[in-house]
Symmetry: C2
Subunit: 252 residues, 2 copies
């Protein structure tokens, strides 16, 4: 990265913003302020679907004059093509910042939890390790799900395991001592195996599915076995708690 | 709980608000709006220390006319006395709501993650299971720590384990397959054993301590062994990542 003096080009910066799980009010004051002040906003679009829930949450905080750019992050299994897309997208952001612009890359939920921004950040560290970057955390879907269910995720000496549905139920099977709470994000992937692992662990009756959490059409599924044999929604997570003697199961 | 008609008493409600990790801007719009609209705000005070960081974050959003009440949650090991305090504090909130008041109970970080509100909620479910309660999630300290370090917590097929320092390093030892990322909250408790477990797991060089995360005097400790043999701050967490071939360790 080229170094500029203050009189040369104004200092550019990249903000990585988590905008929360879906409810437009679950964005932080900080993310809202940054959105109001930057020169441009970038968001990820899958090549199949340019609609971005993150953009719809952010939009009320973005002045009309501020451009919003969609970056294509193709959801494909071809590692080479995917890497090329990440490299090119990171390049777009780096060039904007090096030209002195203040830009925000927005992501649903938390910027550091299974987000596209994680890949962007990795590429930026590789291509431009000294680029000014500020990451702003956001509320995750599993926190919003626990709030919606009025059930604590973890208390006192309990443990919380957060995994992606990409691994099915294997992370749960690999625990000698079962975590008190397990969250399966992106449970639409391998949902049959996740339900099998929960059954093996004796935790069916304390597991609950939450779909489109914190959005107006949020849906709660008390019997996660009903997910079996059909495609669960992309927006589905499963929250599984250890049975406690002193409270009713979460699925009640 | 007694049922009132609309013309009788206005409907009371309890909001459980997570106000974020410390940075006053990391509160959500929703928590800020609720604080501005309720009839009273309640927060936990330990019997040793009535200062509440949660109150200082919330205060700019609370109108001058709105009372702020500190509830004593003694940090003692006597289970009976502690339970009595929780029961009494829950009773205060229940009575306020049953009298038709809209009240908020605030908690640092997320309302559902190792929070005093979790105990309050349990007691309310026991004493007044039909009380109107809305929980509002907040950003946690470990999300803010990852953002501060510009390092993703989890990506792709990785797993995240969140534990309390109350158990030392045992949760980590009980994983057959090591989680990709482990967060030790309240690492001041049993910090020696946590550091030992990280050493056993070969993860010293990818672990980092963050103290007073997102606050003006945030401090980052690259070598967590320096916590050994002395009292780590109450506000310390340790973030430990699996070494990845394609990125520098988090502690660099």
């Amino acid at each position: 990265m080229t170094t500029h003096t203050a009189s040369d080009v104004p200092p550019g910066i990249l903000y990585g913003l988590g905008v929360g799980p879906g409810d437009p009010e679950l964005i932080t004051l900080k993310a809202a302020r940054v959105l109001n002040s930057v020169d441009a906003v970038y968001a990820a679009a899958s090549s199949k679907n340019s609609y971005s829930l993150a953009v719809s949450i952010a939009r009320p905080h973005i002045p009309d004059r501020t451009p919003i750019h969609m970056l294509q992050f193709p959801m494909i299994s071809d590692g080479g093509a995917r890497q090329d897309a990440w490299t090119a997208n990171a390049r777009v952001l780096i060039e904007a910042v090096e030209a002195g612009r203040r830009v925000a890359f927005i992501t649903l939920g938390d910027s550091m939890t299974y987000s596209t921004y994680g890949y962007v950040l990795r590429e930026i560290k590789r291509q431009a390790p000294h680029l000014p970057v500020i990451s702003v955390p956001g509320v995750t879907s599993y926190q919003a799900a626990a709030a919606s269910l009025n059930t604590p995720l973890v208390e006192a000496e309990e443990s919380l395991l957060v995994v992606s549905g990409a691994c099915g139920g294997d992370h749960l099977r690999h625990c000698q001592a079962l975590p008190d709470t397990v969250v399966f994000l992106k449970a639409y992937r391998n949902v049959d195996d996740i339900v099998t692992a929960l059954t093996e662990a004796g935790r069916l009756e304390t597991s609950v599915g939450v779909t489109r959490c914190s959005q107006p059409d949020e849906r709660i599924t008390r019997d996660v076995r009903t997910f079996r044999g059909r495609q669960a929604s992309y927006w589905t997570l499963i929250l599984s708690k250890k049975r406690r003697d002193d409270e009713p199961p979460v699925a009640d």
